[in-house]
Symmetry: C2
């Protein structure tokens, strides 16, 4: 019994030590926030208002941006469980429902990612002056896409992700103004004028940029 | 007298309202931290350990990086009041003292900068999950260099600065792990083996990248 006490103390110490090393984490399942996407190969710069529900596998994006010198505004609702995407225009009271063949990708650090560094953005010298973040890197298997991800240590909030691949070049995705929770659950309900439209089976959406395309 | 009370209340409210808009600020005069520089035109990627003293106009940089596929390590002490830069090698016990014709540029937001946006990196939903920062932009007069600066709202700590000009292309300077104060005041004192070296009057250092160059 006496031997057990130091042993259990060692176990606790070991657990604390292991606990200090950051581990891949999954972001909160319900979030709203803003994102910017810089995609040089498509000459695209996009600002998005994002509503994210990993429980219901639903994303609402209100995106405005520039691609090849053409500005655009798109409002899309992606329902991954149903496999459909709605392209909504309140101004024109129009709505296009398209099939979507794209797996829901939760905002998370892949389990096989490598911790590059833990840094403080700003300073740890005063309250409100700094943010402790972890930098991760890795490669998506089979796709030859390398990623560099920055997430907060506390709360596992995404800050930025850089994707690089031979095919697509660089894509820089930055998040900010994140709030945990859903401000308006109606963001995930298609407006009334969507209901009667048929699914156009010819055009299957397979990536985020396609989802933002009218044609 | 009775009229004065609402008037003074109005003044206080007005002062509060004005106080809420971020203003250009100067960073703490004494800081240590790390910085990274990405300079695509020179194919340069540099990591630096920085000791910064705006009171004494002194900077110590320990830089390691890659330029045109060649890796380098440099340790330089820049004394702007004396107008000299020391290039130090403890390993070889060598030290080169060069004249420097470069004004000391404190870390600050220029007074004529324009506030682009105030954002939260990460989230404001939980403690330690977010960082309130201000984004500024402007142009250095005469030099046609545009800048985009991110500083923390509290403490005026630099986070990143992007410089763009037709001549130099893009330069991205990022700061992290900033601590207010000077960890080691000896960082600003040239080592003993520097004292006897003469100033080479031929080579005048005029920018930071030159200061990092041996030849």
């Amino acid at each position: 019994m006496h031997l057990l006490i130091p042993f259990s103390v060692c176990l606790v110490l070991a657990a604390t030590a292991v606990g200090q090393k950051p581990h891949p984490c999954e972001s909160p399942p319900l979030m709203v926030g803003r994102a910017s996407v810089i995609y040089p190969k498509r000459e695209a710069l996009v600002y998005e208002r994002v509503t994210y529900d990993a429980l219901g596998k639903r994303i609402r994006l209100r995106a405005q941006g520039v691609e090849h010198n053409q500005s655009f505004y798109e409002d899309v609702l992606m329902l991954f469980r149903e496999g459909v995407v709605y392209q909504i225009s309140y101004k024109n009271q129009t709505c296009t429902k398209k099939p979507m063949d794209m797996p829901f990708q939760p905002i998370e650090i892949p389990q096989d990612a490598t911790l590059q560094s833990q840094i403080i953005l700003g300073s740890s010298s005063g309250p409100g002056q700094g943010l402790l973040v972890n930098n991760w890197m890795g490669e998506f298997p089979g796709q030859k896409v390398k990623y560099y991800m920055m997430f907060t240590e506390f709360g596992c909030i995404p800050v930025s992700t850089l994707y690089t691949s031979h095919e697509a070049g660089l894509i820089l995705l930055s998040f900010f103004d994140i709030v945990i929770g859903i401000e308006d659950p109606q963001d995930f309900i298609p407006p009334d004028f969507c209901e009667t439209r048929r699914v156009d089976n010819e055009l299957v959406v397979t990536d985020f940029f396609e989802a933002l395309k009218k044609n």
